[in-house]
């Protein structure tokens, strides 16, 4: 049972290592899907939104994590 728990924890940790990053990525994907499905926007523009937002999320998350480690 311990072994199974460790495997499950490893699987969850693979994708949900940082809750803030996970939430931001899922929100970005949802936004891109909504733009294509309901916004009537060219899929390529939504693809650009997906790419640009992921890059911004990465930079912001690393900065935030660095700041959090130094806050008193």
């Amino acid at each position: 049972m311990t072994m199974l728990n460790e495997v499950l924890a490893e699987l969850i940790g693979m994708f949900l290592a940082d809750a803030r990053l996970t939430a931001a990525i899922l929100a970005v994907v949802a936004l891109s899907a909504i733009l294509i499905r309901f916004g009537g926007i060219d899929p390529l523009i939504s693809g650009g939104v997906l790419l640009g937002s992921c890059l911004a999320v990465l930079v912001e998350n690393v900065r935030h994590s660095g700041r959090r480690r130094h806050s008193p």
Binding site: V7, M14, L26, S46, L51, S65, H70
Partner: protein
Amino acid sequence: MLSWSVAAPAVIAAFFASLVEVIEAFTIVLAVGTLRGWRPAAFGTATGLAVLAAAVLGFGPLLDRVPIQLLQLVIGILLLLFGMGWLRKAALRGAGVIPLRDENAIFATESAHLGEEVRHRRASLDWIAGITAFKAVVLEGLEVVFIVIAVGAGRGLLVPASLGALAACGLVLIVGAIVHRPLSRVPENILKFGVGVMLSAFGVFWTGEGLGVAWPGHDMALIAFAALFLAAGLLASALARRQNAGAAP
């Protein structure tokens, strides 16, 4: 006929990602082998590899039944979560915000932990050693299995991606057998950073295709995405390093 330009990104990503994971598993298997001999280490490793192979053979054929666009979307999102997680961690390690992984320290800790386990449980020494090696191979191997499926399944590149992962296993085994100590001189964080870049690029590519985006340049778009993630990762790491330096006493 499969062209190298199509298969190369999947093979390279699988090779380097597997290299990182196999080095981590090797450190623990080496600790087991050094403390208890190579029989339990080899038995645990072989059993772990058999479990992973069974998982691939069991789940692999099921993927053929999933519509390709749904498969691309799901795998793309998982790759984004996994790849950007690696890239984030590598950027923070590069900035000195979190410590680098030290294979020598892990080897020493694992050896001490194994000795402690044996003293407390009084169970068969070989059994405990074998289970330790088995766990290391399965837990690190799960990530290899995911990466191979993720970079290979969306384009029918499972075999080339598997060959990339197997090449990494072979390389670590050969080098490990020669040097017979933890592979602590491998620049693991740089490898992790590079793999995070590649997996994040794959993640955006598959997620977009799953949503119906026709990327200009098709597979060549991956190179542009990787360049952008590399630049963003370096920028993020530099900003975090500056914060880190500013906060130091």
